[in-house]
């Protein structure tokens, strides 16, 4: 837990994101038909999902920890990670939709990947609704932890497995090559990997700040 109070990775996150903003727009990219300059979106769209997966994974780990120990702090971490993850989820969807507008022709083209992503979004909205429906704190923490653990594998199936089985336009799905295999040259990798790390750390940072605010509120409300 000491990790969240340290400074170095927050500085690193800021530096990496500034680097990807500058390098991502200025460095040379391969010129490919249809994609053209939109290939730069891979620096911004994919890291959003990476960041989302990072915080959702952490939230599942802390949900499991909560069920095993019953410590209220773990529930706060889990819920704030889900909140942050949902935010990055929306960003990932929006960046994907903007890219789809210029390459596929429409913001929403009924693509399996988009549809699965939208369904998985409903899962986490349901998590929020479930939390609001229970008043008793410990019961709420326990049941939402259970639903969180239950929802995570379904989310992975929805986003990672199902679109790969059908004809999706999304790179890496339905027989389409992923960027990593064909199109991405070493110049792009030099921006792409730092971008992933930077955004993962940013998501983590947002989640920890929110968690610390929650923790203060929780301690304030405690009866001494």
């Amino acid at each position: 837990m000491k990790f969240i109070y340290q400074t170095w990775w927050k500085v690193l996150a800021v530096l990496l994101i500034f680097y990807t903003l500058i390098a991502g727009f200025l460095l040379d990219v391969p010129h490919l038909p249809i994609l053209h300059e939109t290939i730069r979106n891979v620096y911004f769209h994919v890291p959003m999902w990476m960041a989302m997966f990072t915080v959702f994974t952490i939230s599942v780990i802390y949900s499991i920890k909560y069920l095993n120990t019953g410590k209220e702090e773990y529930d706060l971490i889990a819920v704030e990670c889900v909140n942050t993850g949902t935010f990055f989820y929306v960003l990932g969807l929006i960046t994907g939709m903007m890219w789809a507008k210029y390459t596929w022709g429409e913001f929403w083209s009924n693509d399996p990947k988009q549809n699965s992503a939208a369904i998985a979004f409903l899962l986490y909205c349901a998590y929020a609704v479930l939390r609001n429906s229970i008043d008793e704190e410990q019961k709420r923490a326990k049941i939402s932890a259970i639903y969180n653990i239950f929802a995570f594998p379904i989310m992975v199936v929805l986003i990672m497995v199902l679109p790969r089985m059908t004809d999706s336009l999304h790179p890496g799905n339905g027989g389409n090559p992923a960027f990593g295999k064909l199109d991405m040259d070493n110049h792009m990798r030099m921006v792409f990997y730092p971008a992933c790390i930077g955004w993962c750390f940013t998501a983590l940072w947002i989640a920890t700040v929110r968690y610390r605010i929650r923790l203060i509120e929780y301690k304030k409300n405690e009866i001494n």
Binding site: L122, L130, K139, F150, A151, V157, M165
Partner: protein
Amino acid sequence: MQLVNQTWFLLKKEIILEWRSKYAFNGVLLYVVSTVFICYIAFNLNPGLSGSTGYPIIWNVLFWIIMLFAAVNAIAKSFMQESKGRLLYYYSIASPQAIMLSKTIYNILLMALLSALALPTYLLFFNNTIGDPLFYCLAVLLGSFSFSTVFTMISAIASKAGNNGTLMAILSFPVVIPVILLLIRLSKNAMDGIGRNFSYSGIGVLCAINLIVITTALLLFPFLWRD
């Protein structure tokens, strides 16, 4: 071994209770039949549907939507109808896994029987030629199996969170959408009589989803029932 015995006993108890009252089964059967009849009347208000090109697609999708809502209604009851005292009694005599397993198996049996009756009823009102009837029945059985596993766990969660139907629907639909998408694709293939080897990967994913749901349910239920 003890788990198997306990599951068997609880399952027998569920079936006997249901056999005495026949409430859940008859209720849901009536629900399905009346929904089918409503759809029949509603679709016949505007003539020309049964001859149109989109008819087989609508036929297939409508069947699954009816089955989906029937399953929600049938399985939502599985934990809600138990009184608090009776639940406490179960927990003192049986392991939580046995309770979960017996409920799941009971729901699978209930849904299988229900869909076995619902399909002929549906065919009676909406006639359609099915290319590969055996495979379609397999898809329907797989469907009732998958609905039961998903909804049993969700109904356990919903019953702990204040017993309301809205919550049941909100929590379960995102989980059940991938299942129903696979089922619709699978049964569409069976209806068109496309070669069975095209559907095996879909069946594989469906089984994998069921396996994930059952394992997580068995792992999580012990935490859920402890109050």
